[in-house]
């Protein structure tokens, strides 16, 4: 009869939550089911291409972590050459659960090689309340202020990884976007589609919100200007060419490649952008549908707040819509991912060839237009390749688009090699 009970009485409000309640443990008193799952994001389980592997390490003064995720640089040393001269060549690991976001950001060796701005924290901590306080109630002001603060100072203003309040209204529990960078980014994107002054928290549908709350962080970004403002490069559209065009227009570069001197860009986790190109987005399937599927808790259906790889949760994540066996669904995903991965390797080889060629040419003292053209091709090839390399579904979010982008990356790299060599 337990079950019949639940039906009638989903949850009891035991504490009052306010717009300043950061600590998820407090929210957890009202919503124990969601809180318990939320805590599980500490789990580390590996899938063929995703999840993460728990790698033990001996804690040091500089880095007290006793467990990290596997190093991607060791898995594929070519990445070091692709990122030569940039912090990523020092340390880049497979991402893991939300519980780790703050410590992983603090202790990555990337912090040791450069002075990072507070901007970083936008996506690695529960910053909403901090923004409000710093901005005297105005989150945009607080956002700007935190961006200008050096990382380790800014770090003092936050305590938790992403928490309930970053995605929920404390009174209605409705989803809401709390990140100015996303509000501005999506507004710029909508404008490019002819929709002016889009206000995400007023105009987005509930189903859209199930993706937008994730889009707050899972997208390509850059730090704009001396004020280090966090900007999502969507003003011309969400596709890779739109984004590259945006950076070209701004003459923006992340760094100058150490081996070739090319003005290159670092793409980062464009899950939101790639998902948008795929059939699931087009079918109205949101991130939460797969990464936070409903689960039965007695008579209740709740969203699984153990955000993770859907391949670790296939029945709930996929079988609502796809009546195939779990093994079949898993191997469908892996077929798509293998195709992507094989092509990604061809594109990586092509880029490495180009980099070595430019290096050789410069070594031979060349400074002709051939070299400059090749450098420009490297910028494009590398951004396109990194766009897929850093997209964490390994092509699943938009299989054909991922292959298309890698095909173009190969074209850029090889054309760069040809340009260096001139006519036959």
């Amino acid at each position: 009869f337990q079950r019949k009970q639940e039906e009638r009485n989903p949850f009891f409000r035991v504490v009052e939550l306010t717009d300043d309640t950061v600590d998820p443990a407090i929210w957890g008193k009202n919503f124990p089911l969601q809180y318990d799952d939320y805590l599980k994001t500490t789990d580390q389980v590996r899938t063929r291409y995703g999840g993460s592997e728990a790698e033990p390490r001996t804690p040091t003064q500089a880095d007290p972590r006793s467990i990290v995720a596997q190093s991607r640089l060791e898995e594929d040393p070519r990445l070091k050459l692709m990122w030569a001269g940039y912090a990523f060549a020092k340390d880049f690991r497979e991402e893991r659960g939300h519980a780790y976001m703050l410590e992983d950001q603090m202790f990555t060796e990337r912090q040791q090689v450069t002075q990072q701005p507070g901007t970083c924290i936008n996506c690695h901590a529960s910053v909403y309340v901090a923004y409000k306080q710093l901005g005297g109630g105005d989150i945009v002001k607080g956002f700007e202020q935190l961006n200008r603060t050096p990382y380790f100072e800014a770090r003092k203003f936050v305590t938790h990884p992403v928490a309930c309040i970053d995605c929920h209204d404390s009174q209605t529990m409705q989803l809401r976007v709390t990140r100015p960078a996303f509000m501005e980014g999506i507004r710029a994107f909508k404008a490019s589609q002819g929709i002016q002054n889009y206000d995400v928290n007023k105009q987005a549908t509930r189903q859209e919100m199930r993706a937008f709350v994730c889009g707050q962080c899972h997208d390509e970004y850059h730090f704009s200007g001396p004020e280090k403002r966090l900007v999502y490069p969507w003003a011309k559209g969400l596709q890779v060419e739109n984004i590259l065009a945006f950076y070209d227009e701004q003459k923006f570069k992340d760094w100058e490649h150490a081996e070739t001197g090319a003005p290159v860009l670092k793409a980062q986790h464009p899950e939101f952008e790639m998902w948008n190109q795929g059939i699931h987005a087009r079918s109205g399937v949101a991130c939460a549908d797969c990464h936070m599927p409903y689960k039965r808790e007695g008579a209740l259906k709740v969203s699984d707040h153990h955000v993770r790889s859907p391949l670790l949760n296939i029945n709930r994540a996929c079988q609502t819509c796809h009546r195939w066996s779990e093994d079949e669904l898993k191997s469908r995903v892996e077929t798509i991912q293998r195709r992507t991965y094989d092509l990604r390797n061809l594109a990586m080889d092509a880029l490495i060839d180009l980099i070595n060629d430019i290096k050789a040419a410069k070594g031979a003292g060349r400074t002709d237009t051939g070299v400059r053209t090749a450098q420009d091709f490297q910028r494009r090839a590398q951004f396109y390749l990194d766009f897929i390399e850093s997209e964490n579904s390994n092509g699943f979010h938009a299989p054909q688009e991922a292959a298309r982008i890698l095909g173009e990356s190969i074209n850029f790299s090889r054309k760069g090699q040809v340009a260096l060599r001139g006519g036959v």
Binding site: F1, R3, E7, P293, Y294, K295, R296, G298, A299, N315, R316, Q319, T320, R323
Partner: protein
């Protein structure tokens, strides 16, 4: 049906299954009464929703093209009397059993046997219209047209 359900169980459950089966009869019987398992013996769709677990299909059915023409049992129990009641008894018992133990996937899938029953049900009502497409060896299952392959949402939109 039994086999498939065993397959369905997560490993740990597999281990204790032997023990619990005996128990299950008791539990099952209990739920059978408690959750109005006997509702299996009636033909109205509401009967099935005595289990909230069936709510999803029920509301799906309300939206379906068959709402007005077919109830759950029309598609999920064989037409012949014996088949009908043995299937119902089986569904009734197992559903009660799993419902009570809570040992079933969040996204329920129809069993191979359930599928056959349903495939037959389609033909039961649509014999004529599909006569032409059924083909010569419609008897042998690999030669049957699978209605569900294209029409899997006629009973309830999911």
């Amino acid at each position: 049906m039994f086999e498939r359900n065993v397959m369905n169980l997560r490993l740990a459950q597999g281990l204790v299954l032997g023990v619990t089966l005996g128990l299950a009869v008791g539990v099952g019987a209990y739920t059978f009464v408690y959750a109005r398992g006997y509702s299996y013996m009636t033909d109205n769709a509401e009967a099935c929703v005595n289990c909230h677990i069936m709510q999803e299909q029920y509301s799906g059915w309300l939206k379906s093209s068959h709402r007005a023409v077919a109830v759950c049992n029309d598609c999920h129990t064989p037409p012949d009397l014996i088949g009908k009641y043995t299937t119902k008894a089986q569904n009734g018992f197992w559903h009660s059993y799993y419902f009570t133990t809570g040992w079933f996937d969040d996204n329920i899938q129809i069993t191979p046997r359930g599928r056959e029953v349903t495939e037959k049900a389609c033909r039961n009502c649509h014999q004529e219209i599909v006569e032409a497409i059924e083909g010569p060896h419609a008897g042998a299952s690999e030669w049957q047209t699978s209605c569900l392959r294209c029409h899997n949402s006629v009973g309830h939109l999911h």
